[in-house]
Symmetry: C2
Subunit: 344 residues, 2 copies
Amino acid sequence: MHEKIATIEDVARHAGVSIATVSRALHKPDVVSQTTREKVQAAIATTGYTANVMARNLRLNRSGMILLLVPDIGNPFFSAILSGIEQGASKAGYNVLIGDTQNDPDREATYAAYLRSNQADAMILLNGRLPAPLANSPANATPPVVIACERIPGCGLPTVIIDNEQAAFEATTHLINHGHRKIANVAGPDNNILTVDRTAGYRRALSEHGIAIDPKLTFVGDYSIDAGIAAGRSLLADAKTRPTGLFCASDGMAIGVIVAAKELGLRVPEDVSVFGFDDIHLAAAYDPPLTTVRQPRRRLGEQAITLLLDRLDPKTPNKTGKTDPVIVPTELIIRQSTGPCPQG
Amino acid sequence: MHEKIATIEDVARHAGVSIATVSRALHKPDVVSQTTREKVQAAIATTGYTANVMARNLRLNRSGMILLLVPDIGNPFFSAILSGIEQGASKAGYNVLIGDTQNDPDREATYAAYLRSNQADAMILLNGRLPAPLANSPANATPPVVIACERIPGCGLPTVIIDNEQAAFEATTHLINHGHRKIANVAGPDNNILTVDRTAGYRRALSEHGIAIDPKLTFVGDYSIDAGIAAGRSLLADAKTRPTGLFCASDGMAIGVIVAAKELGLRVPEDVSVFGFDDIHLAAAYDPPLTTVRQPRRRLGEQAITLLLDRLDPKTPNKTGKTDPVIVPTELIIRQSTGPCPQG
């Protein structure tokens, strides 16, 4: 049923040259005559022989593939990270295959098995959890794995993250500096390390300014627009208890909060200030344009693939040693969804 | 360097049973005692043996992987399609690996080579172009390939699409029925089959209502928000030539047009009506909520994986025959970005 895969022998036969000549034409073209190179190229085209990557990978006993596990490919947050990873991988002769785990441990385990059977050479995890088959292995016994975006406490693998605590601290401080005192925390899922870190930063900012933490001003969401709408409806409906500022753990939730605020007849930022997180592509095109924490997403991806290629390089010494996480700096992007406290 | 991969022998040794017993426990658990099943399960957990998928795939001489080529994983349009594909694949015991081609023919070719070397069992193309190594092969000689979203004229492979011409016709007709006569076409890239089909539908609607086609009212974009902003600035700046309605080939471009309209002090829909395409998740949360063509994206994905699994099933007869494309119906979603023509 499957078409026969063309071999280097097929190319040699079609070109009317020896296998050694085909190999030289592919790997040391400068030592082969122009005529021979052209004959070999024509034969490659005819046979469909895929020398460039597959053959080299076979020779190097590698798959040439890097596996990238993402918790939800539908989240636009990941696109620029993927782009940074793919560019770096591509330059080094690797291709990236993306597995969408949907936060499902079974799917994570299946993809990790693909890695362990050497159908991929290395893995980058964006999902904040070690797949079960890896969790039992010491860090130095698996094919190279790099963690990005969500740190995994105690796992010891190379990690690239932003400083979520500091970013949340700065965003909340910005609201405080604009006179806001009643500031809500529209947080991510409870069990998530990002939530732990960002909530810690939000609380530190309040504490440093002597503002008491009101647990009624925290809403637990899942980063989605719908969660933001629910948060806005719940937190903003009652004029007496309403916060004047909301720090949201994603731009999606910030957009949802603004939708709910408008439903309630509230103006953003005149009546209520909304701070997002991520700086997704649409943040600048929203109405009002979102004030947010910019995650340097492409740089996160670039750093992750750099760390991984370093581990894949046989010349790198001490590749199993524990390393401190690489911290990529964030930036506050002040647009029009935040302003002075109306009661200020 | 790599950890040794656990074999069925390792499981048998750990469980203190024979290999045949392990195999029975895995494949015919009902013929094995409860105690034995538990011993085997414990041994699988200890050794990290990945029997469920990898072993079965080895036995069936398949990789268990379906390769999905996407032109731009950053486009939120694709997420629900992927989700539909992954759900169907998962039920049939397949995993999906996504390759982001970035519209680069070299990347397409490299991923296709991965398929031809049987590291994946089948492929779904969302990118509207046959990778070079497949383009030369007759449809019945490759591992199964299914086309979704963008038809490839004349390629003969099973295809799942929406009727882009009809959808564009209906959207444009909706604007005409609301009194609009000066209607712009904010189109996708010139060389794209989607653009050809949607522009044909836009023109048919104008023709059927006796409205002359004004080439100055067409703007060629790339589906992005930025292209929409450029289109809006270019088409809406001059009050004398300004269209009152714009049919946009993506929600991203519709959002960009609205950003530009607001910059120019125009109200949507009071001064100008903007029609999108896709119904991305954010369309309903935008201000104003977008009127758009809903693509049944999850169903597109489900239909594509159904066609593919059918081709993978050895019991399916006549699997190399040409088939008509499967057309998944679209739906007009009328929200607040369109209204009556202000001059009507």
